[in-house]
Subunit: 249 residues, 2 copies
């Protein structure tokens, strides 16, 4: 944890212990601190870059880099001509960055990602099975129909992603949605479907999804957990068989 060194910066503590941190880093900590201390609440507007820079004795360039860093993290949002604002700080915003992981990772890391999903998805699916209402189930059924049916592999991949996302959303846990999102990648999903199609195993993948839906429809958490586990393991099985073969071109 703690990208920033813990300096017990007690409020009012004046004995400046020779902060040798880079200016930009100090600016980042300063703003982060204002949020953590409640001085800045979600939706609040920050002072202008020029004012903030003056306040910290830093240049506007450094302050801009600090703001850019926090913008990247999803903590701040800059609106051209209007000002800089604190985001709602919802998990989804903060974890957007998270997506780089699934986007960039390769090889062994993909296996690790799948192992984490194997822990999360079964639990999430079981929870969803206990909570799903009729409208949500109808929506799921609609998405399921688009999986593995049409000729377009792209639509199947998109529907697949939507399917799992919709299930996780049923849990009502935005943090879970964000984490799960970060562990899923469109390009990886596409590779899985393409590989299965080539091996004549598309049907197997579709059946996985049907079983998951059925379990949710039956409000059967145990069945849901099992179906989700089976599905993730199927993907993992495929990945282990294809590691290293289709990595680089």
């Amino acid at each position: 944890m703690a990208s920033t060194p813990d300096h017990a910066d007690a409020p009012g503590d004046g004995a400046a212990p020779a902060e040798r941190l880079p200016v930009t880093q100090r600016a980042i900590d300063h703003i982060k601190g204002m949020i953590a201390d409640g001085l800045l609440q979600p939706g609040d507007r920050l002072p202008t870059e020029r004012d903030l820079a003056a306040e910290l004795g830093a240049s506007r360039s450094s302050m801009r880099e600090a703001i850019r860093a926090l913008t990247t993290l999803g903590v701040l949002e800059a609106r051209h001509g209007a000002g800089v604002y604190v985001t709602p700080l919802r998990p989804g915003d903060l974890l957007e960055t998270f997506s780089v992981l699934a986007e960039i990772s390769q090889g062994e890391t993909l296996i690790e990602v799948l192992q984490v999903r194997r822990m999360l998805e079964p639990a999430a699916t079981a929870l969803a099975a206990a909570r799903a209402d009729d409208a949500q189930l109808r929506r799921l059924a609609g998405i399921l129909e688009r999986i593995g049916t049409g000729e377009s592999e792209g639509e199947t991949v998109a529907a697949d992603l939507s399917f799992h996302q919709a299930i996780v959303e049923i849990t009502g846990n935005a943090t879970l949605v964000a984490v799960n999102d970060g562990l899923s990648s469109r390009t990886f999903n596409a590779r899985v479907w393409h590989g299965h199609r080539e091996a004549g195993l598309s049907a197997r993948l579709r059946e996985d999804h049907e079983r998951i839906y059925q379990a949710l429809h039956d409000r059967d958490p145990d069945a849901a957990r099992a179906a989700a586990t089976t599905h993730v393991m199927e993907v993992e099985r495929w990945l282990r068989g294809h590691l290293g073969s289709s990595q680089r071109d």
Copy 2:
């Protein structure tokens, strides 16, 4: 996915791609693309900021902001005087940013975070129970002794974090370690211990950890899963009882 706007759509106006994106964003995409395409591999050194800026027709300021963004994401690493390098792209690096979540989130989001941990930790602990070797168990035992014994609450909190981290590390899954790390916060942990001590429930927390250790020692995954679940739920129980009361110090 979706940190980058899809330029694939744009139905009507097919002609000009019209890259209207902000300069800095274009620079970010450029570098990210070079990594995704394998032009830049982990450990590689990037051209100098000045060269990169010239290459893209951008100013050095904008290029620096782009580099700052990717540095924040854990993709790049800048070494003063030496150059900018691509990180090993290990999950731990990429998820460092992740820690802002537990660091900043409050109220309801904390509950959500705990629910995610309730999915991950039992599974991770069960896996660890099946894999732990003697040396790892001895190390765990050593950490366990520091939990809830001495007078220093700070040491207990630190040991608590180490304990769970060590267990997750036994799984050998770096991605899992990183995710779990991001969901844990020292300040939150401190609040939990402080609250329990005030209520005279420190012993209960310590017993939780002892049960987890015992299960690992017995190489009993089921018991480990149960013990971990119980522990997370205990924390969740406490949090629900204290939401809104003791936010800030």
